[in-house]
């Protein structure tokens, strides 16, 4: 364990993949082996510029490199998007709890994802399919604004839907000529009979507005609030439950989350703001 929790370890960007007009995946090699559990996040430092929290999108099985998919949203992410291969970066973490994968065993797992929210989901998905027999089914309902905003296109249209035990549907908010799939927000492809509501877990990750409506829909379908898992995005700055920025009620998202059940946080107002 790093003695100083504020000190990042050195890492290097060895590859950059354009996923969408606003999202790139950075392949990062940390100087030393780096282990994380799926759903945990890291603080990625652009030296001398700043740092921001991201959940790796690669499988935790890979300890020598990790993929981090980043949407251009603010100062640090904007500058990261201008970086090229060979850029030195820093990594702190991993932080937080991650997805409780073991508690999904024997159940159907419904994953509802949107936009850059597919980043943590990819890591979870890879973790689940790695032991797919442990789960009754993995049901994916993914969306993006337009077809070109869908990330991980190769996997989404390639091998992922073909995996035994995986049921995948995609949607876009707005279509173009080349799109033959569903058009509409992601909740339009989540149906009440997609999974056995009494023996399943729902994982929701995406923009706050999407998470809000997907959660409301899940509740309406009869999912219990403690079967709904939410990846909360707040201002996780220190990552170690001290600086206070990411608090939702009594919880530090960085330490107690970033994955919460709806049951845990439902009593706090403005969790989607």
């Amino acid at each position: 364990m790093n003695e100083n929790p504020y000190k990042p370890i050195d890492a290097e960007i060895i590859d950059i993949i354009d996923e969408s007009p606003t999202i790139k995946t950075f392949v990062i090699v940390p100087q030393s082996e780096f282990r994380f559990a799926t759903g945990q996040f890291v603080e990625l430092t652009l030296p001398g510029i700043g740092e921001a929290p991201f959940t790796p999108s690669s499988s935790p099985k890979e300890t020598e490199r990790m993929d981090i998919s980043i949407m251009k949203a603010g100062q640090v992410t904007g500058l990261l998007h201008e970086c090229g291969k060979g850029q030195k970066v820093g990594i702190r973490g991993p932080y937080g709890n991650g997805y409780p994968v073991d508690s999904f065993v024997g159940k159907e797992v419904l994953i509802v994802g949107g936009g850059v929210g597919l980043a943590p989901i990819r890591s979870l998905f890879l973790t689940l399919v790695d032991r797919i027999k442990d789960f009754k089914r993995v049901v994916c309902r993914f969306g993006a604004r337009t077809p070109e905003d869908l990330i991980y296109k190769e996997s989404l249209f390639g091998e992922w839907p073909k995996i035994d035990g995986v049921d995948m549907k995609l949607t876009v908010d707005n279509s173009d000529d080349g799109w033959s799939g569903n058009v509409g927000v992601v909740t339009t492809i989540v149906k009440s009979d997609d999974v056995d509501i009494n023996n399943s877990a729902v994982v929701i990750c995406g923009p706050p507005i999407m998470m809000k409506f997907a959660t409301m829909q899940a509740l309406e379908y009869g999912f219990r609030p403690d079967d709904i898992y939410l990846s909360m995005e707040k201002n996780m700055s220190c990552g170690i439950g001290k600086c206070g920025h990411c608090m939702i009620g009594k919880y530090y998202v960085c330490k107690d989350g970033p994955v919460f059940t709806y049951e845990q946080i439902r009593k706090y107002p403005k969790i989607w703001d």
Binding site: P5, P47, A73, G90, P208, I240, G244, K250, W272
Partner: protein
């Protein structure tokens, strides 16, 4: 021997200053601030009747510091032993709260721990609480019973000096020449003075008597419009969080130096508008009333749930320092009345 007698402050402070840097209260108008003690000063040092205006957290969690160096090497300051004289029980209780956060085993904050280990604390009894003091409302007393290396109780003709740690005991043992034996009636005099201060605090805060524990009041009135109303006088100066001995929010930022990079840690404030905002623009507490509620909830409810103590020591600095004239005791009293009404309505329904 745990208790000895000291006639004048100067020999004690001189003896400490011989060993380490020493900070002492300095009178500034009606208030006190800390300054570095210079043994060469011939004047008898100041004994502060009440807490110093600036919070003791400054010594452990400086307003700005280098939290980490990366991508190169840099001289990091070697933290040497230092002493602070004039801390009151509210200050010591504030340090205990900061310890919960920065000495939390899972993630120790290295510079906090280094400063904490090197700090020699000389506290003293309060014998003239201010109108803004309310430690008695949050489980405090105007005198310290733990958390100090040495504690001074002012009595007739000098001070009772009590050692509260091994470091303190060793200091007393090594410096017996400056102390004398306790006069026969000194301890009973001290007890009376302590009782008087406590009575004075109870008088000061008589009008704010509450019917329920503060955490129940604040949580029970979570939806109260009073938080929004309270925000009406706030000018968002963030002064309350700066002077608070327990507020510990900070902001991390990166800096580029000639041959290394640094991660800086700087005080932040949950009362700041963009405090909780994320890069995407969402902000769960963009409304001031939500921020003032979160601050109170954190102090009296969330921290208590997490660490088992509330995050307010009743020092009253926020009352004294508020540019808008906000008064936490009045707010608590109003919330108390609201909760009483709520409970009453429930019963009569």
């Amino acid at each position: 021997m745990d208790k000895v007698f000291l006639k004048n402050l100067k020999p004690l402070l001189d003896a400490i200053a011989e060993q380490m840097e020493l900070y002492v209260p300095k009178k500034l108008g009606d208030y006190y601030s800390f300054s570095r003690y210079k043994p060469a000063d011939s004047a008898e040092p100041v004994f502060n009747n009440i807490r110093v205006s600036s919070p003791a957290k400054e010594f452990l969690f400086p307003m700005r510091e280098m939290a980490a160096v990366y991508g190169g090497k840099a001289e990091t300051p070697d933290i040497k032993p230092f002493a602070v004289f004039g801390l009151k029980n509210c200050d010591l209780r504030g340090i205990k709260i900061l310890d919960c956060v920065f000495k939390e085993e899972e993630f120790l904050d290295p510079s906090y721990v280094a400063r904490r280990d090197n700090m020699f604390i000389i506290s003293s009894d309060c014998f003239d609480p201010a109108e803004t003091c309310f430690c008695n409302m949050v489980g405090g007393q105007p005198f310290a019973e733990e958390g100090f290396d040495l504690n001074l109780s002012k009595v007739k003709g000098g001070f009772i000096v009590e050692a509260g740690s091994e470091k303190g005991q060793k200091f007393v043992k090594d410096n017996m020449r400056i102390f004398t034996d306790l006069p026969a009636d000194a301890e009973s005099e001290r007890d009376q003075i302590r009782k008087k201060s406590r009575t004075r605090l109870d008088e000061i805060n008589a009008e704010y008597l509450l019917d329920n524990p503060i955490n129940e009041i604040v949580e029970g009135c979570y939806d109260s419009p009073l938080f929004e109303e309270e925000a009406g006088v706030c000018v968002e100066c963030q002064g309350c969080t700066r002077v608070c001995p327990t507020c510990h929010c900070f902001y991390l930022y990166d800096t580029k130096q000639k041959d290394y990079f640094g991660k800086m840690k700087m005080w932040d404030s949950c009362m700041r508008c963009d405090y909780a905002a994320v890069a995407g623009g969402e902000n769960p507490r963009k409304i001031l009333g939500d921020r003032s509620r979160h601050r109170l909830m954190h102090k009296f409810v969330y921290f208590l749930e997490r660490y088992g103590i509330e995050m307010c020591v009743g020092c009253g600095r926020c009352v004294e320092g508020c540019a808008g004239g906000s008064e936490v005791r009045q707010l608590l009293k109003k919330l108390n009345e609201e909760l009483k009404d709520k409970k009453h309505t429930k019963v009569t329904k």
